[in-house]
Symmetry: none
Subunit: 269 residues, 2 copies
DNA sequence: AGACTGCGTTTCGTCGAGCGCAACGGAATG
DNA sequence: CATTCCGTTGCGCTCGACGAAACGCAGTCT
C-alpha cells in the first residue's frame, strides 16, 4: 500500500476501510508487541519480515518500546522479547478488573435468556463463596446465597471449582462429604470420576444433590493463565430445568463463562 | 504549531513525560498507557492535558490502542482505561521469562505443600515487582498482586531482594520508609540490621509489617553467579502462619528457592 | 424550555516526522 | 583472513500525523 494514485473518484468503494483506524506507526508498534507475544523472542529482521516492512522501520519502534521497558533485549544476541513494563501495566489493569463487575452484565443477559437465577462463586476456605447473584424472571427462586459458604461436592459451582484443583489440593480442601439428599455424592471415588467428567465436558450439573427439587448447571471462568478462578451457574427448580433443557442451558452458560474469561484476559482474539 | 512563526526559541512544554527516543507518536501512545496506569481512568481531554498535546493528538493513538484492545472505553461517559490486551501480553511475557517458567512447577508444589499463596518477585525500579503468583488451597484472594509495585522494606520478598544489594545500591534504591503498620521498619539502622540477619539466616520474615494480619516468609533465588535475582515467598493470614509453623515453612520455602536457583545454573560444582 | 458548557469525535490543510534505502561496525563462521 | 549475517545509523523524500476548528450529544445552569 505504498503508492496508490488510483481511483480518487471512486468514493463508495473505499467505504470498506475502517473509519478512524488511527495512527499508523502506533499500529505497527503494537503489532510488534503482538508478534513478540506470539513468537516469544525475535530479532529486528525477523520482526520486520513478520510485519512486512523494512528493517529500520521495525527497529525504531522497537527502540521506543525498549525505552519504555515494554520490550527488552536478551543478552546473547540483540534479540528482543517482552519486558517488565508490560507487567507493570498489567498490575494497573488487574487493579481495575473486578470479577463481579465484569461478570454482571453477562450474568444479566444469561438470566434473561434462561429465565433462571445466575450465580457467581469462587473457592474460599474449603467451600464455595457466592459473590454475585442475578435473579431470573420467574417468581419461584432459590434462596439468596450471596456471601454464604456452600458445600463444594453437592453443587454444580462447587464441582467446577474443584475440577480446577490438582489432587493434593483437592485432598486438603475436601473434608467429610456431608449428605444432603439421597443423590448427594458422598464417596471420594465417584466424586473424582465426576470431576474428571466435568473437566472433559467443560461444565458441571447438579440435580437434587444439595436440595431435592433444585437443579443447577455451572461452567468455569478462567484467568489469563487458564486457571479456574470462579464458576458461573444457572439454577432453578428441577421441574423447570429438565434434562431436555440441559443442552440449551449448557450452551448458554458455557458461552457466558467464556465471555467473562475473555474479559479477564483469557484466550486469544 | 502551524502558525507560530519563529517559535523555535520557545521551550516546548514537554511536561514530565519520560521521553524515550525513537518514534515520536509511538512514544506518545506508550505515554498514554502509562497515564492510564497511573490515573486508572481518564477521558481524551484529560489524557491530552497530561501529555501536553492537543485533544485530537491524544485521541487517535487512543483509538489505535483501543483497536488492539490495550485500552477500552467504560460504558459511562466514553472514558478510557487499560484493556484486556494488556493482560494477554502480560501472560505472554511471564510465559517467556525463564525465571517464571522454571519456577512455576516448584511454586505449585510449594503452594500445595503449605496450603498458602506463593509469590515470585524481582527488583524493579525501587520496588518489588511480582512476576508470578500461585494461590493456596484456601484461595481467599483479595487482589491479584502480579505486576504490582510492593514496598521493599515492609515485605519479606523486599527484604530478601534488598539483602542482595551492596550499601551503595541500597542507598540508591531506598527512598523514604513509609509506615504501613506499627510494626513496619521505618528507620535505616534497624533495617540494615534486619537485612544482615536475612543474609545470615538465608530467609526473611515479615509479620504484620505491610498489613496487620498478613505474614510472609521469603527466600532468595540466585543466578549462576550467586547474585540474588529474585525472591520467593509464602504468605498468608497471621493466624494461620503462626511462629510455630515458621520452622516448617522456612524449610520448605528455602528448599524451593534453592531448587529454582539450581535450575537457573546456581551451585553447580 | 432554551442556552450553554464540556465531552468525545470528525474533518481538513499543512509540514515535519517516519519511512525506505544504503552504508556502518561487530560478531560469529568458514 | 574473508565472508556473512546481524543490529544500528545517517539521509533525503514523501506521506502520514499534527493542530485548529467544527460537530453531535448530554448534562446543567438560568
Amino acid at each position: 500500500m505504498s503508492k496508490a494514485p488510483e481511483a480518487i473518484g471512486a468514493a463508495p468503494a473505499t467505504s470498506t476501510a475502517i473509519t478512524g483506524r488511527g495512527v499508523q506507526s502506533v499500529d505497527r508498534a503494537l503489532g510488534i508487541l503482538e508478534v513478540l507475544a506470539r513468537i516469544g523472542e525475535a530479532g529486528v529482521t525477523e520482526i520486520a519480515a513478520e510485519l512486512g516492512v523494512h528493517k529500520s522501520t521495525a527497529f525504531r519502534p522497537v527502540a521506543t518500546l525498549e525505552a519504555h521497558r515494554l520490550v527488552e533485549q536478551t543478552v546473547d544476541r540483540g534479540r528482543y522479547r517482552l519486558g517488565v513494563g508490560i507487567l507493570r501495566l498489567a498490575g494497573a489493569t488487574t487493579a481495575r478488573l473486578d470479577l463481579v463487575q465484569e461478570a454482571r452484565p453477562i450474568c444479566r443477559k444469561l438470566a434473561s435468556d434462561t429465565g433462571e437465577t445466575v450465580n457467581v462463586a469462587v473457592l474460599s476456605e474449603s467451600s464455595a463463596l457466592y459473590l454475585d447473584r442475578v435473579a431470573g424472571s420467574s417468581a419461584l427462586q432459590p434462596h439468596n446465597w450471596v456471601g454464604q459458604h456452600i458445600p463444594l461436592h453437592a453443587t454444580s459451582n462447587g464441582k467446577v471449582l474443584l475440577s480446577g484443583l490438582d489432587d493434593a489440593r483437592l485432598d486438603r480442601v475436601l473434608g467429610k462429604l456431608a449428605t444432603y439428599t439421597p443423590r448427594t455424592i458422598t464417596k471420594r471415588g465417584p466424586l473424582r470420576a465426576e470431576l474428571e467428567r466435568v473437566r472433559e465436558q467443560g461444565y458441571a450439573v447438579a440435580v437434587d444433590e444439595l436440595e431435592v427439587g433444585l437443579t443447577a448447571v455451572a461452567a468455569p471462568i478462567r484467568n489469563v493463565h487458564g486457571d479456574v478462578v470462579a464458576s458461573m451457574s444457572v439454577s432453578g427448580p428441577s421441574f423447570r430445568l429438565t434434562p431436555e433443557r440441559f443442552d440449551e442451558v449448557v450452551t448458554l452458560v458455557t458461552e457466558a463463562a467464556i465471555e467473562v474469561s475473555h474479559r479477564l484476559g483469557w484466550g486469544h482474539r
